[in-house]
């Protein structure tokens, strides 16, 4: 039962982005497990695609985004090229960071994606600072600053939110709450009512959303982004979702009952839910399947291209360290 004025075009676009993210993640997983082409840790966002797709749909291309170790989906949604992303995961020269960052530091400044971060919570005040820079420069961009539920227990959460509110900065903080902090249930280590209650204590406008309902995420994100762009004040979104897999691709998640995840996947998968909505709105199943298969083909091609791509030149390890002072000292 969809609303009468349901926007099918948007609904399909949101599904498409989620399918692309999931396909990217599955291909990344294959690259790691089947192909053994990824040495470092990768953190997949399977089950959390609605946050990336819904929130970033509300942004302009020149708006800015910061993310975490689990940042593939956000980066793709912001407009990064999946082949360059996959090359980055495989440590290739054509990777969006030249193969130097890998999964945990994926970034594409060309589309406003200012980087994933390997240090939990660190991007929160950095994102506030990007918004501070925008304020000083006087333009009308905004920043979206995404982090996990575990990140609200580190100091930068407090310092970053306080900063944004004190200086009146155009930043949307998003807590993408997948219930887990690596192998620990976040609720066991979090006092009080969590992200939203803490955000409110800074006097910041705060909303909570079903983060697996991509339409709801897109709606609230649109409102918040519009308000931020207009009022130049921060806002906070607590999006509740669920991490379907392990913490890293090689984590079998034996610490939680298999049934728990299975039940959540069966009842609350954001892609399945959006497919239902679109079917209800009269979209043909075949069209939906085609979106999935196109996404799969796209990401399969991205992986194939990345696997065939060259590694960086050895000497590039000395590039982009700094301008002043040579990183390479012959003496050693």
């Amino acid at each position: 039962m969809t609303q009468p004025n349901y926007d099918r075009t948007r609904g399909l676009a949101l599904l498409t982005m989620m399918e692309r993210i999931r396909a990217f993640e599955r291909q990344a997983e294959l690259a790691a497990t089947r192909d053994q082409l990824v040495l470092g840790a990768i953190h997949l966002s399977i089950g959390q695609e609605a946050c990336a797709a819904g929130i970033i749909a509300a942004l302009r291309r020149d708006d800015l985004l910061l993310s975490t170790h689990r940042g593939h989906g956000h980066t793709l949604a912001k407009g990064a090229d999946p082949t360059a992303m996959m090359e980055e995961l495989l440590g290739r020269a054509g990777g969006c960071c030249g193969g130097k960052g890998g999964s945990m530091h994926i970034a594409d400044f060309g589309v406003g994606m200012l980087g994933a971060n390997g240090v939990v919570s660190a991007n929160i005040p950095i994102g506030a600072g990007a918004a501070h820079g925008i304020k000083l420069l006087g333009d009308d961009r905004i920043v979206v600053d995404i982090f996990g539920d575990g990140a609200i227990n580190r100091g930068p959460f407090l310092e970053g939110l306080n900063w944004a509110a004190v200086f009146g900065l155009p930043v949307l903080f998003v807590c993408e709450d997948n219930e887990w902090s690596a192998t620990t249930r976040t609720s066991d280590m979090t006092a009080g009512e969590g992200a939203a209650a803490r955000a409110k204590s800074f006097g910041i406008r705060t909303e909570v959303v079903d983060g697996n309902d991509v339409e709801a995420v897109a709606d609230i994100a649109r409102d918040l982004v519009a308000a931020i762009r207009r009022d130049r004040q921060p806002a906070f979104l607590h999006a509740r979702t669920f991490r379907q897999g392990g913490h890293t691709y090689f984590d079998p998640a034996t610490y939680r009952a298999k049934e728990e995840a299975a039940a959540r996947i069966a009842s609350d998968d954001p892609i399945a839910r959006q497919r239902e909505i679109l079917l209800g709105a009269g979209v043909a199943e075949a069209d939906l399947d085609r979106i999935a298969s196109d996404a799969w083909a796209e990401m399969e091609a991205a992986l194939a291209a990345a696997a065939a791509a060259p590694f960086p030149e050895d000497g590039s390890v000395f590039a982009d360290v700094q301008d002043i002072g040579s990183p390479e000292l012959e003496a050693y």
Binding site: K100, T190, V317, V321
Partner: protein, 320 residues
């Protein structure tokens, strides 16, 4: 005696210490499930959740809270997961823990073991690969442990837990699975090096995993007739100045090798100390990483690695 892994040896030492002393406890993220590298496996089952405590993702609070608990008479073992994340708790370690006893005029102690797994490990990139042992060696109040073998990771962990000083305990992430004979009764004395190989031609000083590569280089050199004395410092504060100076004075040649960045690395301290105390036949050499950041791509990562071959080459040049 018995064979243990490097990781397993520290686990066993910790287990024994916890069994013997009820004030010893561990705290860090995910410890209840054994820790990211299995360093706490089985301890929660044996000692319960209070003594093998999970923690919020709050490195600063883990460090500070453990310190507070140490001041009232417990003996915490603090897990920082990756040495890099310990930087989130720098004020706590440097301004608080290292200084408290002194600035309070001896009224307090901080008997803590602060574990910071360090070093390069399979494309972990710039934020998960650092080796900053020279930082800690520079800070009064801290003991700095850099074990390289299963034996030492047993005996030094035991000694670290027994110590009344805060011990920065730097295990190398790349060698958890390395196996070795462990004599649990073997004594360990802080600031004593282990001579890995004896030799009369060149003194090679190293520590942490690099000491394993130095030993390998020493064996290669021995086969060529070059006698390398390979010294594994094991701790950087205190460090075995006597053994190193004596050996370097005897061989007349000094090479120091470490994985961390050469500029400002502890290798400089070793060289500067030796040349102040002994006359050498050849100019001393250091090998360390270039002053570059640690990249993700495996081939780039290899550009920064100090290998056994590099150590052997430098030693050959020194002896030529």
């Amino acid at each position: 005696m018995g064979v243990m892994t490097y990781g397993g040896a520290a686990l066993e030492a910790l287990r024994q210490a916890m069994a013997a002393d009820p004030t010893v406890w561990c705290v860090g993220e995910d410890l209840g499930r054994g820790g990211v590298f299995g360093q706490y496996k089985g301890l929660r089952e044996e000692f319960g959740p209070d003594r093998v405590s999970d923690a919020p993702i709050s490195e600063a609070a883990i460090m500070a809270a453990a310190f507070g608990a140490a001041m009232v008479g417990t003996r915490p073992v603090v897990e920082m997961r990756f040495a890099d994340f310990a930087l989130c708790a720098t004020d706590e370690l440097i301004n608080q823990i290292a200084k408290a006893r002194f600035m309070f005029g001896g009224q307090s102690r901080a008997p803590m073991v602060i574990r910071k797994p360090m070093g390069m490990w399979r494309s972990s990139a710039a934020q998960h690969s650092q080796s900053l042992e020279s930082w800690y060696a520079h800070i009064p109040g801290l003991v700095v442990a850099v074990p390289s073998t299963a034996q030492d990771n047993f005996s030094m962990m035991k000694a670290a837990i027994e110590a009344d000083d805060p011990v920065v305990y730097l295990e190398h992430k790349n060698i958890w699975a390395n196996e070795g004979e462990v004599d649990q009764a073997a004594p360990y004395q802080w600031g004593t090096a282990r001579v890995r190989l004896k030799g009369g031609d060149v003194t090679i000083v190293s520590w942490s995993d690099c000491a394993n590569r130095a030993e390998q280089a020493g064996r290669t050199l021995a086969a060529e007739g070059i006698g390398a004395e390979v010294i594994d410092l094991r701790s950087l504060w205190p460090w075995d100045r006597t053994a190193v100076i004596e050996s370097a004075a005897r061989t007349g040649r000094l090479l120091v090798a470490h994985e961390s960045v050469a500029v400002g690395g502890f290798g400089a301290e070793v060289v500067a100390t030796v040349v102040q105390e002994a006359d050498l036949k050849a100019r001393p050499r250091r090998i360390g990483a270039p002053r570059a950041l640690i990249p993700y791509a495996p081939n780039l990562e290899d550009q920064l690695r100090v290998t056994a071959d590099m150590i052997a080459d430098a030693a050959r040049e020194l002896c030529a």
